[in-house]
Symmetry: C2
Subunit: 334 residues, 2 copies
């Protein structure tokens, strides 16, 4: 690709992977080539640079018009990448990126890459909560035989806090299980996937009526701490909560305390206020809690491929001067 351009300045795209993240997430030249074949012509005449050593990376960054990045510290980006016009994140959550995007540079996120795997895991989490799996897994290391009986999930109510790709994929599955599915988005609106999408102001009135809460909302100034002690206290004692979005949307200390006191049936978490979660966190010791280390919604076989498909779709739009997909509104934070 780097050699196929002709005529005029070639479009320079720099790729940064997070060396501390799992290879599942990495955009490699091989994965890029495979994806480019699915989008014929779009990547023609580009200069694609990787560069993992700081010096090489900085030189390429200085020339790049487009940055394709995952988990990259963008502090000082305006000075480091003066020609930059567009940043495509390979993550859906961009709360750490937004503050560093220079004025006039477009940021797009990877919302949508988690849909199929994330929806399935969300449904798994709701089923686990319904069938008392948190209770069972808490008792196993104690060799404690303590029956807990449940009823089918059909007819029960779930509130989706966040109505994006994961929430919507989960909503479809939950409805197939006969559940009643409510949504909570930034604004109230009708949506055929949900019985109704409510606004944040409705949260307190909804919580006492639900059996489960599924949090997939992005972390923004509006969602930080949205599910605090007050909100957790509004849930019925038999309710369960799932967080697949971002850790700080929930007050995790309050959640650990509720679980320890037996004031909630259970919780399923994939995201935390700090990651990796320190061994000192009370969450590790809280009962009735199923924890995965921020990986449960990420598809092992398709994550990078889906992010690249989105990027190449956007690249075609960019070159044609059309509107990009998944443009982040810096004021909203997603």
């Amino acid at each position: 690709m780097a050699k196929s351009g002709r005529g005029g300045a070639r479009l320079r795209i720099h790729v940064v992977n997070n060396a501390n993240s799992a290879p599942v997430y990495h955009v490699t030249e091989e994965k890029f080539r495979a994806a480019a074949k699915r989008h014929p012509g779009v990547a023609k005449g580009i200069v694609l640079t990787f560069g993992t050593e700081p010096e090489e990376r900085d030189a390429n960054l200085a020339e790049a018009e487009i940055l394709l990045a995952g988990g990259f510290n963008m502090t000082g980006l305006a000075a480091r990448a003066p020609r930059l016009k567009w940043v495509q994140s390979t993550s859906a959550g961009v709360e750490k990126v937004v503050p560093h995007i220079p004025p006039g540079v477009v940021l797009t996120n990877a919302s949508g890459v988690h849909g199929p795997k994330g929806g399935e895991y969300a449904m798994t989490a709701l089923l686990m909560l319904n069938h008392r799996v948190p209770h069972f897994v808490t008792n196993k290391p104690l060799a404690r035989w303590d029956q807990a009986f449940a009823t089918p999930i059909a007819g029960k109510t779930v509130l989706m806090v966040g109505v994006g790709a994961i929430g919507s994929a989960a909503a479809k599955l939950a409805k197939r299980f006969g559940m009643r599915v409510l949504g909570l988005g930034r604004t109230a609106r009708p949506d055929r996937l949900y019985e109704r999408v409510y606004a944040p102001k409705d949260l307190h009135k909804l919580l006492p009526k639900v059996d489960f809460v599924l949090v997939t909302a992005p972390l923004t100034p509006a969602t930080r701490g949205m599910i605090g002690k007050t909100e957790l206290d509004l849930l019925p004692r038999h309710a369960g909560i799932v967080n697949l979005g971002r850790g700080p949307v929930i007050d995790n200390d309050a959640l650990a305390e509720k679980l320890t006191k037996g004031e909630l049936s259970g919780a399923v978490l994939d995201v935390y206020p700090e990651e990796p979660l320190p061994a000192s966190s009370p969450l590790w010791r809280a009962p009735n809690l199923v924890m995965s280390p921020h990986c449960a919604v990420d598809d092992a076989s398709a994550y990078a491929a889906r992010a690249l498909d989105l990027f190449l779709d956007n690249l075609g739009r960019y070159r044609a001067g059309r509107k990009l997909l998944n443009v982040v509104d810096p004021a909203l934070g997603y």
Copy 2:
């Protein structure tokens, strides 16, 4: 009911509950009355006895024509209940009852009562295995942050060992998730719920090709030890196994060893060779294993009601001289 009969000898039905089992399973007079309203006329003119004290129970048993029982030691039943013509078990599994049924007495089981809850829990178990939940719950007490990535369950293959009510309910759900569903029954046959129902002789050829095995088979001379070390060794390393049927169908020591060696992705068990499972069992300490204490397929709100609906349906058939549902073949053991 006991007082409404007129003319001729009244039909005597004795009910025995297992005092050591959870109230969920108990047939009470209140539950019986509620169920009888759903089957008008069927329970007219019967004498219904309970009697939990041995003396009272034995006196009633001696007169009973019909026995409705769950988890009751039936040793010496022929002598204790000389007028007995029919035993309705409130359990689906009757391996402990079959040897004590006097010749000429019909035994019917409660197969079917577990369908909705059991199918849902079976699907929960398959999803947990697919999404590496056994790995996550093993790491939590160790405060170990260790990512594991998976792919969606769609397209993967499950072999249902046992094609009764739970297996069939699970098959329907698994197909909705896009899974390939194979069955294994007592005999090979076409069945629209499964890609194909295979015979036990096909087991060894199937195991290397599946991603998951779901065991719901009854315990019979033919199924005891059916999934032994040889069979577990035939499964791919990434595979997972679920047992919701009866503990001794699987060699649980071999399973614990496979899990400890990391030679299987995970297992989900609800049934054990001995129940309650002694604290000395290696299963309690095996990694990548989700264990529930024989309750996961039993519906808290509907178990006794469904068993009573089946009994009253059968009672109507009995009084009309028609063929009963769920008649157990003593030679087959289910």
